[in-house]
Symmetry: C3
Subunit: 231 residues, 3 copies
């Protein structure tokens, strides 16, 4: 049964399907769609055209079978969901986090507190993001990526998770995105190959193509990326 | 005159303009807009905020005159049109194909069966895509591009069709995107220059900048891309 | 008090909040949201799901304090605002300019006449763009960027404005995007570092990473970009 706090303000054009929990001072703008089992914590704002809690779509042409550990979607206190962004079911977003215009957050992802996920960013399935991390506009975070705290990922960064480019089908143990450790920074337009580790406090230069692990506190640049110096 | 099958389920907030053909078991979600002369085949699902059959907009600042061979838009059986995606008029999409969140498919394009067009992908005018081909998130497919069957194009790949960067105006014979043959794979963040041919079964490495044709069954990498080995 | 010309056609599903000025022959399609203090000049067309005049959102995790010099948003005569695009408050767009599907234009930006801003382009805060300039799909224009007249910026171009990647916080004098002078062209997938100047009539090759200023009438290519020849 739905629970909607009396101080929540919900536009008359918004659509709510199924049972949801909407806490104090939540604001839901026009043309928003909220699906079943969504929890919007106190102070959350959901802007026009955003969709929260949508189950992912399965289709025969996908190599990876869709699965969800839970159908609950939680948006933490005072977080902001921007226009036209889509937060799929089985996602947990912390407090004071901003999801930008038109971003997609896929099922199984966990995003911490005080993060910024920029405009049109794709966060694919089963991504882990810590606290105080920023992922800037038009960047793609592939499925099964792990990102720490205080990480900065600039615009138009690409990541991938399958060296076999889909030929072998999906195997969660083999198909792995990068691991980006705490305090690392990734420059604009950088390309990270599947499963590379970016060490704590390291910096990847703009436009670099990272083909192997980067140690902690190291600056790398170039195509392919090479160590420039320790930091 | 519109024909809407009795098993179709259409949200009351969806808007349908003009004459359309909506077949069995079609599902149209909230805030969808369907324009004139759209055919949604049996089992098609159209998600929130998607727009199908919109005529492209002409404006004096465009160098290319908009033209349409037909105003009919066809979505094949069991295909899925994701939220906020836009399929322009004069487009044909095959069966069991997924168009991702916020993707745009421009007029004159033809996409085959069992394809995946990822999130925020731009498929520009007069693009041909075969069957079982995947174009991943945030990739741009320029106008007049030809893509075969079983092709894999990763995320944030850019293609262009005009070496003169618009200075000479539009000429369909000169302004040509790449030709990507069957079974080829293009790595994340790769850049393909106008009219390059990527041979059958070839692989373009992540972040490569392809400035000339790639033979069949060849791996290329680097900036500019060079042959690494035969496959 | 709102002023809506009798020849304007406004969809019944569009939402208008606050006082607006809507001039002759304006057309507003379904599910559009118009906020306070928006001026839509004669002949403007606003397509489905677009949002105009939205105040930017402040959240504690943003390093830059949101400020607006004015809350007025002006769209010039005969310009087109495409589906799902968002034009924030305190923005001025000239006449005969096309804002593409799903583009975002942030507060403080000024865009001239007869420009094309492509699909899913991000124009961040306080950007200046002259007349007859094209920014193609999926490109990111960072805050505090200056772009002249007759500039061509291809697809998936990245720009950034902070060499310190956010570590020092926001200072408008230090955090500067590129300056791209009149008649310059930027190739697809190029990466421009913070505050680089691209000289008048110069060309940046596809996939180039520009780390320092480019003189007038010069072709640069490569990673990092080097001078190839004068033009």
């Amino acid at each position: 049964m739905s629970s909607i706090h009396e101080t929540a303000v919900i536009s008359e054009t918004a659509k709510i399907y199924g049972d949801v929990q909407i806490e104090a001072d939540v604001r839901i703008h026009d043309f928003v769609v909220i699906y079943d089992s969504v929890i919007l914590s106190a102070g959350v704002v959901v802007y026009e055209g955003a969709i929260i809690g949508r189950p992912p779509v399965s289709i025969t042409s996908l190599s990876r079978k869709i699965s969800m550990a839970s159908k609950t979607t939680v948006i933490g206190m005072n977080s902001v969901i921007s226009p036209h962004s889509i937060v799929y079911a089985d996602t947990v977003i912390g407090s004071c986090t901003l999801i930008g215009d038109g971003a997609s957050i896929r099922e199984g992802s966990r995003i911490g507190d005080a993060c910024i996920i920029g405009r049109s960013v794709m966060i694919n399935y089963n991504v882990r993001i810590g606290n105080n991390t920023k992922v800037m506009s038009l960047t793609n975070i592939t499925g099964n990526t792990i990102i720490g705290d205080n990480v900065f990922i600039s615009v138009l960064v690409s990541t991938a998770n399958d060296n076999k480019l889909g030929v072998l089908g999906y195997d969660e143990n083999r198909v792995r995105g990068p691991v980006i450790e705490d305090d690392a920074s990734i420059g604009e337009g950088a390309v990270l190959l599947p499963s590379v580790r970016i060490g704590r406090g390291s910096i990847v230069g703009a436009g670099a193509v990272v083909t192997k692990d980067v140690p902690d506190n190291t600056l790398v640049m170039g195509v392919p990326a090479k160590v420039v110096r320790e930091l």
